[in-house]
Amino acid sequence: MASAKRLRIKTLAMILAMVVCANAGDLLLKYGMAQIGAVELTAHGISQAFRLIVTSTTIWLAIFFLIGFMVSYMTVLSWADYSYVMPAGAFGYAALTFLAVVYLHESVSPRRWIGVALICVGVLLVGQTKPRTTEVPSEVAA
């Protein structure tokens, strides 16, 4: 059925956007805060950190990606099952591990590789199922 195939492609594309935005947002936020350095917990320290945060391009870019994550998450949940989107989104953990190995040359423990393998098999299993199992409300479908 063409519409079933379309639904699957649209759902997987939106989950991919979700994962990319969440990972990019988290990494940029971490990078931006590291540039600012440890925040001193005094009135002066906090106000100075606040000024540095609101003027940091990296932090604004991070916020932009995190908003992108929230928008794609809300959009995909408007048609797909929560029990499909939630486990499929865990693909992000596996992707982060690969990125850490390739770009940051981090060493990864065997336990973590087993976790990555389990996530990949789990996401493939969930991906085989129908993205939507509940009824479309008639007023929305019309």
Binding site: K10, V71, M74, T75, L77, S78, W79, D81, Y82, S83, Y84, M86, P87, A90, Y93, A94, T97, S109, R111, R112, I114, G115, V116, A117, L118, I119, C120, V121, G122, V123, L124, L125, V126, G127, Q128, T129, K130, T133, T134, P137, E139, V140
Partner: protein, 124 residues
């Protein structure tokens, strides 16, 4: 394990799961955007932020985040983050019994593998 850590974990897991289920229910009642174009998505977002279930979900997720901050001050991160992977199981139970989604054997098997996998990755 101390009682407050168990209560904190329960708030963390039930808060995030409850919040996401409320948001899912809200988005389903809002209905999907007519087209995946900026104008249609903006119109969808306007309807979404006017939905009561969305505003039920957001504070629950915030509560879960505060529980996480508290837990990290009480218990080692190597316990807290892998334990939070249980939210995959809690979320699937909620999807089945609250949202009425049809969770097949294959989907359950996938969820359990993802749950164990995330716990292992988080444990490092």
């Amino acid at each position: 394990m101390y009682v407050h850590v168990i209560v904190g974990l329960a708030v963390l897991i039930l808060g995030s799961t409850g919040g996401e289920i409320a948001i899912t229910h809200g988005m389903k009642s809002v209905g999907e955007p007519a087209r995946l174009r900026p104008a249609a998505v903006l119109q969808f977002l306007r309807r979404a932020v006017g939905n009561g279930w969305f505003w039920t979900g957001v504070p629950l997720m915030a509560l879960s985040f505060y529980a996480l901050l508290l837990l990290l001050s009480w218990a080692p991160i190597s316990l807290v983050i892998p334990a939070s992977a249980l939210s995959y199981v809690a979320g699937t139970l909620g999807a089945k019994f609250i949202l009425g989604e049809d969770v097949s054997i294959a989907r359950w098997a996938g969820v359990i593998l993802v749950c164990i996998g995330v716990a292992l990755v988080a444990a490092g």
